[in-house]
Amino acid sequence: MNTVAIRALIRNDLRLYFADRRAVIVGVLVPILIAAFFGRIFGGGDQSGEQGKIPIAVVDEDRSRVSQAIAADLASDPLLEVSTLGRVAAREQVKSGKQNAAAVFPQGFGEQATKSLFSGVNKPRVELLVDPSQSTGARVIQGLLAQYSMQEISKEAFSGEYGRKTIDNYLQQLDKLEQTPLRADLRSLLSAARTLNDRAAADAAAASSSGSSASNAEQHQFGLSIPYTVASTSVTARDNTPYNSYAHSFAGMAVQFILFAGIDAGVLLLLTRQRGIWQRLRSAPLSRSEFMLARALTTTLISLFQIAAIYVAAMLLFKVRMEGSWGAFIAVGISFCLLNATFGLMLATIGRSASTTRSLATMATLLLVMVGGAWVPAFVFPRWLQDASRYVPTRWAVDGLDGATWRGLPFDAAVLPTLVLIGSAAICLLIAIWRFRWED
């Protein structure tokens, strides 16, 4: 083994890499900037809840106590950012993407909904205008709308004006019908509800006249509500350790831009073959395997430099922390860099011209990183794509880096990703060895 020649080749390639300042900037600074951007739009590091509110418009054509109460409930929900608009303006804003959806409460909604609570017929129709590109947000809005509507309508039924009228109406209708045991029971139930309604109204009036606050008055109103409260806890590395979305975006961008460096290495090799320097290399006492080893080691070293620089910036500037195992991070990082080196070699052996190889490889890389969850976490993908992404090495690289950082997983969790990456590197290497033309 001509180790002196291998060292000379590695030193030379490193010099070439660092001589091209633009390549260094693209390889280090650009991923940092893009990761910062993605991290910011996906929540940043503070996770205070101000990020990512769903914009929704409410069109209240009813202006009843019920519709106003529902609108107020929606406005106070931490997930939503509510604007009160007219129907035409709301439709325009949904169309232009400013609002994810608009809920239109038609005239007579409050009264009709209260009646329907008991009868189940003649339900009023709430129109929900939805931006089709924001289907997830629309589902959230639908759920919250159902929750607050049920709460306010039932409150109105048991404590409000419409409820009293509706119950009186039913009681009058029952009195006109022939008495049966079932109707007698129903009459008792409605009478009890009527009594409850009167008492609530009297208590509310008393509280109001004695100067108590509106919220105290509301305590005398009864309605259905969700019979539990939800305590949401982000399951991150440790209790009280908030999720830092930069951790994922830095993992994704590191993977993407290191793969770009792999493409550059492959293209450089293709270009070298077309230059006089190739004859110089071929005329030297250097074997095919020594040459390939030197190339692979150089790309691995450059990739390691990139990942180190990107994560130093992530830790210093964006508070990304190694909540899991440093060993896991190093194992996944090195195995991914090895994969990248062999990927570059493989490209150089299967590519024909430099420009075509660069274009095709860039397209394939973007697909790999997208499916691998480098841009957005894989859990937002449809089920079939999540399953398919398990066959993509970039998914394992991103998962491995996520595990070592914000998920706080132990070293054991990195074993499988590391093995998958090393296995993928071996496949790329075998293809490269098989296809590599040393002699012209």
Binding site: V4, A5, A8, R15, Q279, S283, A284, P285, L286
Partner: protein, 244 residues
């Protein structure tokens, strides 16, 4: 020193070199002359070990190239026709790579690189990037890159292509100095005056075959000058095919 015995090379249907044989003695300078596509570069590639002959053998000092290519490669220095330099790096960094490829240690490399740069007159530009060099300087550095491992045989494939007369003259001076040091040179060129000035013996190739293998004095005596011999032997038809 160098024995070339009936070597042939074929690219598909086209025969680039067809069973050529010649010997080169220690310290001798031999010119390979031929029109485009005559087979000069292919012959050089086979002698340097870059390309394997389809048939025939190349031996250096009695040892066949097929037996131990690496050992023989250490005795040969190739100056490729295309500039074999990294333009983004300094002259010194280029030489560090080329010396390293031949296993030279740091101290030895330092000494040899200094000597090679001094020989080609670039000692004061060693730290400069190659892309700042003129065409002639690049050609001289291209030669220096082949000298670091002190080869016995130096193969020069059109080393003066595209340089001005001053640079060409400087390159001749370099090659004459190498000749004085006892190096064996095999030199391909289109320029007759170069061959006349530098070579002890000239081989005229065409269509992959050797048409003549004589001393410069012989050609002058028989054909007035080398160019007359060349034109008479190779004809006046244009050769637009690729160089091989």
């Amino acid at each position: 020193m160098l024995q070339v015995d009936r070597i042939s090379k074929r690219y598909g249907e086209r025969v680039a070199v067809n069973a050529i044989s010649f010997n080169v003695a220690q310290g001798e300078t031999v010119g390979l002359l031929g029109p485009n596509g005559a087979g000069k570069t292919t012959a050089i590639a086979m002698i340097s070990g870059i390309s394997r002959p389809d048939s025939g053998a190349v031996s250096l000092g009695g040892v066949s190239l097929a037996q131990d290519t690496n050992a023989l490669k250490r005795r040969v220095g190739l100056v490729p026709q295309d500039l074999a330099l990294y333009e983004e790096l300094s002259a010194w960094a280029n030489l560090q790579l080329f010396g390293g490829l031949y296993g030279l240690g740091a101290a030895q490399l330092q000494q040899r690189a200094k000597a090679a740069l001094a020989l080609v007159g670039l000692a004061d530009r060693s730290a400069d990037r190659v892309k700042t060099f003129s065409g002639g300087m690049k050609r001289r550095l291209n030669i220096a890159g082949a000298l670091l491992h002190e080869p016995d045989l130096i193969l020069l494939d059109e080393p003066t292509v595209g340089v001005d007369p001053q640079s060409r003259n400087a390159i001749f001076d370099n090659l004459e100095e190498l000749k004085r040091r006892g190096k064996t040179l095999v030199y391909t060129t289109h320029y007759m005056e170069e061959a006349e000035r530098l070579c002890d013996r000239v081989l005229i190739l065409d269509h992959g075959q050797i048409l003549a293998n004589e001393t410069v004095a012989y050609f002058k005596q028989q054909y007035t000058n080398l160019e007359a011999a060349f034109m008479q032997l190779t004809g006046r038809a244009l050769r637009d095919g690729a160089e091989s």
